[in-house]
């Protein structure tokens, strides 16, 4: 589904974060990215989410070079970014409405129910208050809801469980397992050992 061809990324000449990576990530599989701080996990996920461009090499989604055709590619991606920056003057419900509408998936009545059901599942009671008033955990829940609401083919998540309480973690685990069963490719950086057993089919150790 996602093929990396000779990918190299360096911020300074001669100091690659990773180099000449060639590999394939398959649909319905979970890949866990583990490694110490600064080992390149976030940079790797940034490259795969087109928030960073490789120094050389290419990443193909089906027949599409994702860095040449980001818009077409990102339509298939759900993203939990490493930063918690979200539009602070929108509510979680409005953010999700905007995302669903921008994917042309909006259905009057049904989509509102779907959004509410997802936010119920994540226990985000404050869905109609502005995101600027949210705690770190609430912002993370909003990000997770935004990634899942579009039922993507690929889920790219950088530490999605950070800042969440135990019960919400359990719920997110279940959501990821469910997405996997629907052939969604999971790429996730996480420190949680629990997730190693239940979600990941393969561990990618960093530095690469």
């Amino acid at each position: 589904m996602l093929k990396l061809n000779q990918i190299t990324k360096q911020y300074k000449a001669g100091k690659p974060i990773f180099s000449n990576i060639t590999r394939e990530f398959k649909p319905g599989k979970g890949y866990g990215l583990v490694g110490p701080n600064g080992s390149g996990k976030t940079t790797f996920l940034r490259v795969l989410s087109v928030n960073s461009f490789p120094t050389s090499g290419s990443v193909m989604f089906k027949d599409l070079d994702i860095h040449q055709h980001p818009v077409q590619y990102l339509k298939h991606v759900g993203l939990v970014h490493d930063e918690e920056t979200l539009p602070r003057h929108l509510t979680a419900s409005e953010l999700l409405e905007w995302i669903v509408r921008s994917r042309k998936l909006w259905k009057d009545g049904d989509s509102s129910d779907q959004i509410n059901a997802l936010l119920d599942k994540l226990a985000l009671e404050e869905r109609d208050e502005p995101i600027g008033t949210y705690s770190t955990g609430m912002k993370k829940k909003t990000q997770i809801a935004a990634a899942f609401i579009v039922e993507p083919d690929i889920l790219i998540m950088d530490e999605p469980l950070r800042g969440l309480d135990q019960s919400t973690r359990e719920i997110v685990f279940k959501m990821i397992v469910e997405a996997k069963s629907k052939k969604t490719l999971i790429l996730m950086a996480s420190h949680s050992m629990r997730s190693v057993n239940e979600i990941f089919d393969e561990i990618v150790k960093f530095p690469l």
Partner: protein
Amino acid sequence: MSHRSIRAKLSKTAVAVTALFVIAIGLFWTGYNSLDDRIITLRYFLIALTGLAAFSTPYLLFPDKNGAIIQLGNLSSSDLNRYLSGKIASYTWPVFLLFGVIFFGDLNNPAENLFLKLLYTSGASLLFAGLMMISVARYVKSGPDSQFWKESEKGRKLRKNMADFFKYPIDPGSVPSLINTILIVLAGFLAIVAGALMEQFVSVYAEFLCMAAVFLGGVFTLRKYNPTIVRNFYSSNAFFREFFGESLKGEELAARREVGQLWWVPAPIKMHVWQFLVQLDRKIPSGRVVAAGHVLVWFIAYQRPEPEFLTVIWLLFALVHHLFILLTIQPEMAPGWLLRWAGSTFIWLTTRFWMQLRWIVPLLLSMNAQLFIFGTPDFQSQSIVISVYIAAALIVSAAGVSVLKKEIKT
């Protein structure tokens, strides 16, 4: 040890482009005017700036994105003063440049009346700097009072009484800011009007002294509040962070805008324009700001200036509308990763451009009402204003796209 600023450095290209733009505007505005016309232009401009400084300072200052770093570095009062001065200067330097261009951009007689030109440039700079100092000092100080009115029982009663009396809910936390706005506007207006009278009946130096008095007032106000500036800054920063966020609850959220209401936006970008408008309306009362701008232009038109001058005022007002686009470029409103995920750069260019079209009808109506009453601006001038408005909307929207592209880590 060398001193390092925690503020992001201004891009040299952006500074150069802004400077060239300001010089071009200044030359177009007053390049061929007589000295007397330049002085009158300056006074009107200062009146507009007074209103702008009084209203916009809290938006420029708070919430400060470097708040956490300031606390971490535990800045002293002098360091904080330096930081705030630098922050305000980074926004206002084009205004000081424009003062210079208004007087020294004399295309007819560049070498004449140099001393008078210097006197007015300095006077305007002193007055504007003084107003900004008063404004910064007063808004930084306002946090504790604002919090008291917002959270106390006394504030709750005030809110109820205001709602009963005016039939409009007013957040009591905003009362200290409202008082500040009035005081700053009064200080500026009085100095400008008194200066103009002094110039007429005493001498040009007396007008300069009126302007310099505002500067001295600014220095005095800053010094007066300096001992408590750090504590007040933390308090005000916390208050405005909560105020700009939490004030969204309640009535304003209940009356939120629906996507379907945007009949004037094409379907492919309707949802994108919608989310920006929802955010903008919560960040700033944009309708009221634009209405205030129209009132100001009508105030100037009422003085019956030259038609060319009024056209320039309309042009400037048209350009000021696009500050709304700049707000939508801020990460707090448009995180780069989210925008890239939701749409292409072309979509964002079109979205921001289309968002601005909502102000064209009020602009046209207002200009035509003036044409009917005062006989100006004529249709040719109106077409120039509208063309510049549209072109500027495109240019500023393109700047937003460039920021979005720049954010990608290459």
